[in-house]
Every structure is written in structure tokens, then in C-alpha cells.
């Protein structure tokens, strides 16, 4: 648990936060495991992003200007 919350006051079952509905608590508990989280951008994704979001626009701007 990275910070103090009600989970540290009550037993850390992952389902005992009185501020959160049980289903939401269960989902959070599940997603706190990094294996259950979606991966971020890969190197290939960054390549696509910079290519389509920066390089292609730059080329288009040059093409359209001349």
C-alpha cells in the first residue's frame, strides 16, 4: 500500500474500504497487481506516434507550402 488510507486502518482485505462500493473495491484490488494492468506505449508505438504525429505533419507542411 503506497499511502495511508482507510485500508490501513481496517484490515487490508481489499474489500473493506467503507468509502468504496464492494465491486469497485474488488476491481481496484485486482488492478493494483501490475500484471492486470494494460501495458503502456511500446517503442514501436512511440515510433508510430512520432511518425504520424510529428514527422508526417512536418512533411505535409513542407509539401503544402511549396
Amino acid at each position: 500500500m503506497p499511502y495511508k488510507t482507510t485500508q490501513e486502518i481496517v484490515p487490508k482485505t481489499g474489500l473493506d474500504n467503507p468509502l468504496l462500493p464492494a465491486e469497485l473495491e474488488a476491481r481496484i484490488h485486482h488492478l493494483e497487481n501490475t500484471a492486470n494492468q494494460g501495458a503502456g506505449f511500446s517503442k514501436t508505438d512511440w515510433l508510430y506516434l512520432w511518425g504520424l504525429g510529428v514527422v508526417v505533419p512536418a512533411l505535409l507542411l513542407i509539401w503544402g507550402w511549396v
Binding site: 503506497p2 488510507t5 482485505t13 488492478l31 508505438d45 507542411l61 503544402g64
Partner: protein, 476 residues
């Protein structure tokens, strides 16, 4: 035991896509293709023609297409980098991603921005829908000229009912209508471009843009229109990309499915405006090809607007779910709250809204540039991609994203500064500018200054005071 209770809790509500709660990996099962289709249908709407028309005031076809497309891709790049990593990591929507920056209560600002923006755009789309149906009936001889008065509100109400019925199934409804509309929208769009370019190429080449003055200023404005138009996708994108399992599955659909169709369809509006002085396909296709082509174009407008409205209402309904009072309401009630303002506008004041709301939306739209800057700066530079899913949903005063009574002044200050920078550089209504707008656009400096202001305030105030959870370094 915990696992048993967890599984029971997770199985209890089968429709997680109708809530604002994070989606489990098993619920994030859309493929790249599915997301691409939904994003494309979402992007293809009547506003594309208006975007093209705005560019046509300043630029001819080639520079207009180049600058508008470049701006669109840059705008989509900013929205994608700001929202997609957080949304796909935890299966959350755009509004939820702002809690780490705006605070456990301050997110309501982003929620309100989303709600107002989507309601505004949806109202416009459904009024267009009503007008298009009326025009179709006139074209087919089923309605006399000038008899559209009662048809527009009636059709707007009917469209709201169709949207409501479709969305009772949550994201599944979104996907179904998208699959139905996809080929029709793509096919008719291509056909319209080919027809316009083959029949009106001479007029397009000879056209002189009405407000053309300085070459650099006009070119920059073409790019600015592209950027700010695509930044308006911020409210929509989170609710869509959260259904794919990871960021990789969303990258190309986002850039190519949402970023590219807007300029490609906008070029129809640009070319039409240059050739015949109006971007409205229902007008120029009738004059070019007769009632048959006009009818086909009107069907396209009707279908495209309906698809976008479905996705917009879904995104705003998911955003509303973040309010505690909305969380326990049945989905149909939350849907009603998303669609009723749209229906009210479409039925009661379609003409007044149609003529005046553009100004308000122009100001709403410029808010997304600093918002993207803040989110990118926070997630990638300050938090180093380290976000706590628990903190995003923890409303307690001890929670890291509680900041100052649930609000993070850094985000609000950065938004205000960013907004000021934009309005200084470019009046979004009158399109009058100050230097160095002609070299930088207005959205890009706004995004940068918004992000930098946020970083500065965080490093000087929040971090030394231990606010915002920056010292913890959550697990990635």
C-alpha cells in the same frame, strides 16, 4: 476467501461498460479493428464539412489540405499521449484520468467540460440530423418547400430516442451501430470526394479564398483549425480506448481511425466551399447530380451524425457516473440525463442554438489544449508514469490526489494561464491574432505553457508540501 468475495463482487454487475469504474482485463476485449471502426464512425460527422469550410476561407485546396491534415495529426497526437496511456492501463475514461492532476473533487471541472462540450456538439449534430431529414423529404417530394419547421424538432426527438435505445446496451450498442455505419460512411465519403474533384476541378483550382491575406498567417490558421478541432476529441476518446487491453492496441486506431478521417472528410467541405461556396453536401450534391445524389448525401449526413451522437452520449454518460449520486442510479437514468438536454435543445430552441452556440463551443474547445499539456507533463515528467488506481477512486482526505480539499490549484492555475495564452495569441471567435501566432499557432504554445505552469507550481508548492503523492513512486 478474498478471491471468492472479489469474484462474487465482480460477477454481480455484468455491465461494467455502463459504469465509470475501471474495467477488468477480461472486459477490455476489443480488438484494434473494432476500436478503429468505432473511432472512425465517431469522427465522421457533419462538423468535418464545417472544419473544411473554415479552412476554405483562407486557403486553396492543396495548402488547405496539407495544413489541416498536419494540424489534425498533431492535435490527435496530443490527445492520444495525454489520455490513452492512463485510460488503457486501468480501463478508465477521460474524466477519470484527470483525477491525478485536478484532485479527487477537482476532476468535476474536467467532467463539466466534457458534459457541456459533448452536449453542445450533440445538440448541433442532432439539429443537423433533423435538418437533413427535412431536406431529404423535400428532395423526395414528400414535404413542400419551407415545410421543415415542425420536422426538425420532431426528427431531433426521434434521433434522441434512437440514441437512447442503442445505448441501453452500453459499449456493445456503440460497437453495433458503428459496424453498421462504417462501410456506408467510408464508401459515400470516397464517392463524394471523387465526384467533386472530377466535376468541379476547374472551379476548385480557380477559387480565391475569401479571407486570404498573408500566406504564412493563412497557412498557420489552416493548421490551427486542424489542431483545435482534433483536441475536441479529448472528451470522447477515453470512453472508447478503455475497452482495449493495452495502449498498443489503441495507438494506430487513435491516430488513423480518429486523427485522419477528420481532415480526409473535411477536404470534401473544403473543396465544395471553394467550388460552389457552401460546404453542405445536401446543397451541392443536389445541384451537381440531381435529387438522387442529394438523397444519398443526405442519408450519409443522417447516418454519420447519428453514429457520432451515440458515441458522444455514451462518453458523457460514463463521465457522469463519476459523481457519487450518479453511481447508484440505473444506467437508463444516467443516459436520460445525458440525452435530455440535447433533446430539449433540439426540440425547443434548434434555430437559436444553431445560430449562437458556436461561440461558446469555441471557448470550450480551447480549454483542451492546456488540459492535454497538464496531463502529459504530470503523467510522463512528474509522475514518471507512476499512477495509483486506488488513489484515483479514493475520495478520502488522506488520499494522495486529495491535494487541497480535493482540488489541485496547480491544475486550475495552469488551465487559466493556458486559456489566457490562447486568447492572447488568437481570438477563437473573431480569428484575430497577435505575434508570434503566425509562427507557432495558438494551441501548441497553450499546451506547452499549460504543462510548464503545472510543473512549476507542482515543484515549487505541491511537492515540498507533500501533496499529490509525488513522493511515493507507485508501482508501475
Amino acid at each position: 476467501m478474498t478471491n471468492v468475495i472479489e469474484n462474487a463482487a465482480l460477477n454481480k454487475v455484468p455491465s461494467a461498460d455502463r459504469s465509470a469504474w475501471p474495467l477488468m482485463p477480461s472486459e477490455r476485449n476489443w480488438s484494434q479493428r473494432q476500436l478503429f471502426v468505432v473511432l472512425l464512425v465517431s469522427a465522421a460527422a457533419t462538423w468535418c464539412y464545417i472544419i473544411g469550410e473554415y479552412v476554405g476561407y483562407y486557403l486553396n485546396l492543396k495548402p488547405g489540405f496539407a495544413s489541416m491534415t498536419a494540424g489534425s495529426l498533431v492535435g490527435m497526437f496530443l490527445v492520444t499521449v495525454a489520455v490513452v496511456p492512463m485510460a488503457t492501463r486501468f480501463g478508465i475514461d477521460s474524466v477519470a484520468t484527470t483525477k491525478a492532476q485536478f484532485g479527487s473533487r477537482g476532476w468535476m471541472f474536467a467532467g463539466a467540460l466534457q458534459y457541456i462540450s459533448i452536449i453542445g456538439w450533440n445538440s448541433l449534430l442532432l439539429i443537423f440530423f433533423g435538418k437533413s431529414v427535412a431536406q431529404l423529404l423535400i428532395t423526395l417530394g414528400l414535404l413542400p418547400e419551407g415545410g421543415a419547421g415542425f420536422v426538425v424538432p420532431l426528427m431531433a426527438a426521434l434521433a434522441c430516442a434512437v440514441v437512447y435505445g442503442t445505448l441501453l446496451k452500453g459499449a456493445t450498442g456503440v460497437e453495433r451501430i458503428s459496424n453498421t455505419l462504417f462501410f456506408f460512411i467510408v464508401g459515400v465519403s470516397v464517392w463524394m470526394v471523387v465526384m467533386l474533384l472530377t466535376k468541379e476541378s476547374g472551379a476548385i483550382a480557380a477559387a480565391t479564398p475569401e479571407y486570404a491575406s498573408d500566406k504564412l498567417w493563412d497557412y498557420t490558421t489552416g493548421m490551427e483549425i486542424g489542431i483545435v478541432s482534433l483536441l475536441s476529441w479529448w472528451p470522447y476518446i477515453g470512453a472508447m480506448v478503455r475497452v482495449v487491453p493495452n495502449a498498443s492496441k489503441a495507438t494506430l486506431p487513435s491516430m488513423l481511425g480518429m486523427g485522419l478521417p477528420v481532415p480526409l472528410i473535411s477536404v470534401v467541405g473544403l473543396a465544395a466551399f471553394l467550388a460552389v461556396g457552401t460546404s453542405d453536401p445536401s446543397t451541392w450534391l443536389v445541384s451537381l447530380g440531381g435529387p438522387l445524389f442529394g438523397s444519398i448525401a443526405l442519408l450519409f449526413v443522417i447516418a454519420a451524425n447519428l453514429g457520432t451522437a451515440v458515441i458522444g452520449v455514451y462518453a458523457s454518460a460514463v463521465g457522469l457516473r463519476h459523481l457519487p449520486v450518479m453511481n447508484s442510479l440505473p444506467w437508463k437514468w444516467v443516459l436520460s440525463l445525458s440525452i435530455m438536454p440535447v433533446a430539449a435543445v433540439g426540440i425547443a430552441i434548434p434555430d437559436a442554438f444553431f445560430n449562437n452556440f458556436g461561440t461558446f463551443l469555441a471557448f470550450i474547445g480551447v480549454m483542451f489544449a492546456p488540459l492535454c499539456g497538464i496531463q502529459i507533463a504530470d503523467y510522463f515528467f512528474l509522475r514518471r508514469q507512476s499512477i495509483s488506481i486506488r488513489a484515483l477512486y479514493d475520495p478520502g482526505s488522506e488520499a494522495p490526489y486529495y491535494f487541497w480539499r480535493g482540488f489541485n490549484p496547480a491544475a486550475f492555475l495552469a488551465m487559466a494561464i493556458g486559456f489566457g495564452v490562447y486568447v492572447y495569441l488568437l481570438d477563437p471567435v473573431a480569428y484575430t491574432s497577435r505575434a508570434p501566432y503566425q509562427y507557432l499557432t495558438a494551441s501548441l504554445p497553450t499546451c506547452l505553457v499549460g504543462g510548464l505552469s503545472y510543473v512549476l507550481f507542482t515543484l515549487l508548492v505541491n511537492k515540498p508540501l507533500g501533496l499529490g503523492g509525488y513522493e511515493n513512486g507507485y508501482e508501475k
